[in-house]
C-alpha cells in the first residue's frame, strides 16, 4: 500500500515537471526569445565548506578525540527555475561528510515543484510536490548550509546530527499559505509524505547499534506541519512545528524482531527577537517516540524526550558575530538524570542527557566567504553518535569540543 502511494506521488511529480517543461520550453509554444527569457529565470547557487573538529574524551564527526578531525565537509548545489511566475522547480544536490553517520556520496537533498495558485499582496496559497526538507523549527529546512546556521553545529538537542536522516526530508505533497497584514504575516505549511529510511543512520536511531538488523525498514505515510508568525518588520518571529514520522519494519530470515512500527513525533516551539546589534533565539521541543509490535519487550516502549536552547547573537562590528548558547537535551523527560536507565540497562546515566554551553565567533570576510570557530563545554553524551563512539561504556561524561569551519558560497 505504502509503496503504491509512494509511486503515485513520484509519478505525479514526474508528470507535472515534464508537462511544465514542455509547456514552457517547447518551440511549438515559445520562440527562441521566450526560451531565453525562461532560462534567464534559472538561478544556480552553491556552497562549499571544510570543517575541523577537535574533542577531548569522545568522538564527534570522525576521530576527533585528541588528534582532531577534518572529517566534516558540506558541498551543495542548488538550482531553481521559474518558467512561469506561478511555477517554480527547485532542487539541491548535497555531498556531506560528517564522521561515520554521513560518509559522503551525493544525494538529492530536495527536488520539487511549487505551484502558486494565488499570490496577492495580502494572501498567498500554493502546493509543493516532490522531495521537501521538513519544515521543522527555524533551521531544519536549510540545516546543511553553513551560512544559514547561527554556529558551526546547530543546537544538537533539536537538530541532532546523530540520527538526522529520518527527520530531514520526505517525498510527498505539501500545501502552503500565507496571510500578510499590517500586524504581521502568518504562514502555514501542512503536508503528507514518505520519509527516507534506507540508511544506516535511521536503522541505528530505531534499533540502536548493539543488535544486527536482518529485516528492512519501510517508509510509511507521515505528516508535516508548521505555523509561523512574523511581525512585518521581522523583529519578532514565532513558530510551532510538528511532524508525525512513521516507519514500518519487515523482518528478515530468523529475525529476532517481528513486523513492528516506529513513530517519531517532535513538537517544536520557536521564538526569535531581532534587534540591530543582537538577536535572541529559543526553541523548546517535546520528542515523542514509540516502538510498537516488534515482539521485544526491551524495544516495544514509548518515551518523550525534551530539548531546549537559549541563544544570543551579538553583532560586534560589520561582518563579525559572536554567539553564546546554552542547550540541553533529555532523552527521557521522566528520567532526566538517566539513573533509571542506568539501573535497568547497566549503561552510563550520562548517555541520557547532554548540557552544552557554546561560545562562538564568526567572521564574514566577504558576503560569500565565512570563517567560524566555536568551543563547546558539554556535560553528558546524549547527542553523540554511536557510530563514532561504538562503546557506550567508553564515553566520557564531561568533554570539550572545538570546531572551526571555512565556508564559501556563490
Amino acid at each position: 500500500m505504502s509503496m503504491n502511494s509512494r509511486k503515485f506521488f513520484t509519478n505525479i511529480f514526474k508528470g507535472i515537471a515534464g508537462l511544465a517543461l514542455i509547456f514552457s520550453a517547447s518551440p511549438g509554444y515559445a520562440d527562441e526569445h521566450q526560451v531565453a527569457q525562461i532560462l534567464k529565470q534559472l538561478q544556480v547557487h552553491g556552497f562549499l565548506s571544510q570543517g575541523y573538529v577537535k574533542t577531548t574524551g569522545n568522538n564527534f564527526f570522525g576521530h576527533s578525540n585528541n588528534s582532531g578531525s577534518f572529517d566534516f565537509r558540506e558541498i551543495g548545489l542548488t538550482a531553481s527555475l521559474r518558467p512561469l511566475p506561478r511555477l517554480q522547480l527547485s532542487g539541491q544536490l548535497l555531498h556531506r561528510r560528517a564522521g561515520e553517520g554521513s560518509d559522503g556520496g551525493i544525494r538529492i537533498d530536495f527536488g520539487f515543484l511549487d505551484y502558486n495558485f494565488m499570490n496577492t499582496p495580502a494572501v498567498e496559497f500554493g502546493v509543493r510536490l516532490g522531495r521537501m526538507k521538513h519544515p521543522l523549527g527555524f533551521y531544519n529546512d536549510t540545516r546543511d548550509v553553513p551560512f544559514t546556521r547561527p554556529s558551526i553545529l546547530l543546537p544538537q538537542s533539536i537538530y541532532f546530527d546523530r540520527t538526522r536522516n529520518l527527520a530531514l526530508a520526505s517525498d510527498g505533497a505539501l500545501l502552503y499559505g500565507e496571510s500578510r497584514t499590517d500586524w504581521g504575516n502568518i504562514a502555514i505549511q501542512a503536508g503528507a509524505a514518505f520519509p527516507q529510511v534506507g540508511d544506516k543512520d535511521t536503522e541505528t536511531s530505531i534499533f540502536g547499534n548493539t543488535v544486527p538488523v536482518r529485516g528492512d525498514l519501510k517508509s510509511r505515510l507521515s505528516y508535516l506541519g508548521r505555523i509561523t508568525y512574523e511581525r512585518p518588520d521581522g523583529r519578532l518571529r514565532l513558530a510551532v512545528s510538528s511532524t508525525q514520522l512513521n516507519v514500518g519494519y519487515s523482518p528478515g530470515q530468523n529475525d529476532i524482531f517481528e513486523s513492528g512500527s516506529f513513530r517519531f513525533s517532535p513538537l517544536i516551539l520557536s521564538a526569535q527577537y531581532n534587534a540591530e546589534r543582537w538577536s535572541v533565539t529559543s526553541e523548546y521541543a517535546l520528542r515523542y517516540s514509540r516502538h510498537h509490535g516488534f515482539g521485544n519487550s526491551g524495544l516495544d516502549r514509548s518515551s518523550t524526550g525534551e530539548s531546549f536552547y537559549l541563544q544570543g547573537i551579538y553583532r560586534l562590528f560589520p561582518g563579525w558575530e559572536a554567539v553564546l548558547r546554552y542547550d540541553w537535551l533529555f532523552a527521557n523527560r521522566k528520567d532526566r538524570n538517566g539513573k533509571k536507565f542506568a539501573a535497568a540497562s547497566g549503561y552510563p546515566a550520562h548517555s541520557q542527557y547532554a548540557k552544552d554551553l557554546t561560545i562562538g565567533l564568526r567572521w564574514n570576510i566577504t558576503p560569500s566567504i565565512m570563517l567560524s570557530t566555536e568551543y563547546h563545554r558539554v556535560n553528558g553524551t546524549a547527542w553523540l553518535s554511536p557510530l563514532d563512539n561504538p562503546d557506550i561504556n567508553d564515553t566520557k561524561k564531561n568533554w570539550n569540543l572545538f570546531a572551526a569551519q571555512i565556508s564559501y558560497r556563490f
Binding site: S80, R86, F110, T366
Partner: protein, 133 residues
C-alpha cells in the same frame, strides 16, 4: 567609520526606491508591500508582470541605508530571508548588481524591475516610488 551604517548619507531622502518606467505601479506603495517585494515573497505586479528585484551587495553602504530607511529591516534580516528561500527551494534570490551605475542600467532597461538609487543618480529613465508609512 562605517559602523552599522548610516552616518555618511543619513538623510531620509538620500536613497529612493525606483522601478522600470513601464512597470506601471502606483507612485506610492506601502512599506509592507515593499517588504514583501524585497523579501522575495511577492512574485508579480498587479498587472501580471513578473517582479525583478535588484539589490547591491550586503556590505554596500547604500544597501544598508535603503534597507533600514525604506523597509525598516536590517540587512541581515533580508539576507536570512533570502537564504531561507533559496536553500529550501521555496523561492529565488534577488539579482545582485555591483555598482549604482549597473543598478541604474538594469532598472532602466528591465521590465518589471525594482531597486534603489541614491537621489543624485535619479533621472527620467527610472520611476521613483514613494513609500507610505
Amino acid at each position: 567609520m562605517l559602523f552599522f551604517a548610516d552616518s555618511a548619507l543619513s538623510s531620509d531622502n538620500a536613497v529612493e526606491v525606483v522601478t522600470h518606467p513601464g512597470t506601471n505601479v502606483k507612485q506610492y506603495l506601502s512599506r509592507n508591500l515593499l517588504r514583501s517585494v524585497f523579501s522575495m515573497r511577492l512574485r508579480t505586479w498587479q498587472n501580471g508582470i513578473p517582479i525583478r528585484v535588484f539589490v547591491l551587495p550586503d556590505d554596500a553602504p547604500l544597501h544598508s541605508i535603503f534597507s533600514k530607511k525604506k523597509l525598516n529591516l536590517f540587512p541581515y534580516q533580508l539576507r536570512s530571508a533570502w537564504d531561507r528561500l533559496v536553500y529550501s527551494g521555496t523561492g529565488q534570490a534577488p539579482f545582485v548588481v555591483h555598482s549604482e551605475e549597473e543598478m541604474h542600467t538594469k532598472i532602466a532597461t528591465t521590465p518589471g524591475s525594482i531597486g534603489y538609487l541614491s537621489r543624485a543618480r535619479i533621472d527620467g529613465s527610472v520611476q521613483v516610488i514613494h513609500v507610505n508609512e
